[in-house]
Symmetry: none
Subunit: 220 residues, 2 copies
DNA sequence: CTTTATTTTTAGATTAATCTAATTTTAATT
DNA sequence: AATTAAAATTAGATTAATCTAAAAATAAAG
């Protein structure tokens, strides 16, 4: 079963959106995440359904299949290995790699990926701290820690929330502490447990212990 | 001016055919060299003409332009740099690289190629002994002679092959006639053009005219 | 210098991926 | 529950690359 480049990109996007805990993945979400129009997504969903990498019922929703997950993880594995190569070997900055890795991930050659993996010394995480699936799609994900339990100067990436109420999510959205944001703990106030963090190397943000304890961080 | 992957492949084929000394490049030649149908070639020639990478008059013939040459050399440069990477760093056998390099050459990123070039230590020749153009398309090529055209007792170094099919490369590998091998012509059989050579001052080797004519030697 | 053969090009389809505009379905709001 | 709003899908076009079959142009042979 082989997928075209476009199909791989859609499937990867669907996988990522599925993993982000959200209830179900909408056509609009996908369109937004890969900069295309909903009409194009509808069409592609039909095709991906036929190829059985997703289960799809129109107007109703979709669910990624085991096959789909495996293929998506293969693409993600390639993407992240190339990112390691670009940063470790070719000295790219971590914010310069994405676009190029986006192209490299579609090169088809299992031998190439095996050799690249070995050459890079079987890395387990990419330069952004995201785990690299092994050739079977298994991910050794790192334990996550509540933001309020991190120490000063520790950094990481927001990967999940404990409280997923609409109010909380709206709040996080407003202050820019979205899932995926890279953060660093700048300060902790002992007596009330509140914290000050740096978000995406730009914005500083204060939050109460109550809020911080509901944010899960993947440490890097 | 950017070319699609297909356009790059056509242009590369045209460049190579043009360089092979032949009078002019025919539609059929191109079709044969990239395994496609003449009808498709006609269509593409029109497009390449519009993009001014070739001068094209239908039924009459074509001529690659300076712009076309520059772009073709850029693609060839990328292809050969990737081949060096695959062989030197990922330990591919020299007959395994072509297919993968064929994909990698289309990755678009000047930064990537600059960095790769530096990482490989600015190689001047690829694993098949073919020269790698610099970023301006300049090629430092060495004068070479086909092995079957050398005289008895002449010596030299194998620097390239004309036929780079996997089958041929595997054969050469097996008999020990690798790129870089130092050879000396011991005997030539007049009536069938076959030759006997000494490889690395150790091993004698018989080869047909057909094989010898596909091996290029830098005379010493 | 005609006729035949070869080469090249056009005409018309097909596949993949995309778009805009229109329609249909589902969700939200009085 | 009826109406409005939002989301999703279909219809119909477009672009790129390809093909087969037919037509046109050039080259080769008698």
């Amino acid at each position: 079963m082989e997928l075209t480049t476009a199909e791989e990109n859609y499937l990867k996007a669907i996988y990522h959106l599925s993993e982000e805990g959200k209830k179900s993945v909408s056509t609009n979400d996908i369109a937004a995440s890969i900069q295309t129009k909903p009409a194009s997504v509808s069409d592609m969903l039909r095709k991906l359904g036929e190829k059985e990498v997703i289960q799809y019922r129109k107007y109703y929703g979709l669910q990624i299949t085991e096959l789909g997950k495996r293929l998506a993880l293969q693409t993600i594995r390639k993407h992240r290995l190339w990112e390691v190569f670009l940063v470790d070997k070719l000295h790219f900055a971590w914010d310069e790699v994405h676009e190029v890795a986006e192209q490299l991930e579609h090169i088809q050659s299992t031998l190439l990926i095996e050799r690249l993996d070995a050459y890079l010394n079987y890395p387990k995480f990419d330069p952004h701290g995201d785990p690299i699936p092994d050739e079977y799609g298994d991910v050794r994900s790192r334990p996550r820690i509540a933001l309020n339990e991190m120490n000063i100067d520790q950094g990481g990436q927001i990967v999940a929330v404990k409280d997923s109420s609409a109010a909380f999510l709206r709040y996080l959205d407003k202050v820019g502490a979205y899932i995926g944001a890279r953060i660093k703990v700048l300060d902790k106030v002992e007596f009330d447990g509140s914290v000050e963090i740096l978000v995406d190397q730009k914005k500083t943000l204060f939050m109460s212990k109550d809020v911080a304890s509901n944010i899960l961080v993947l440490q890097s």
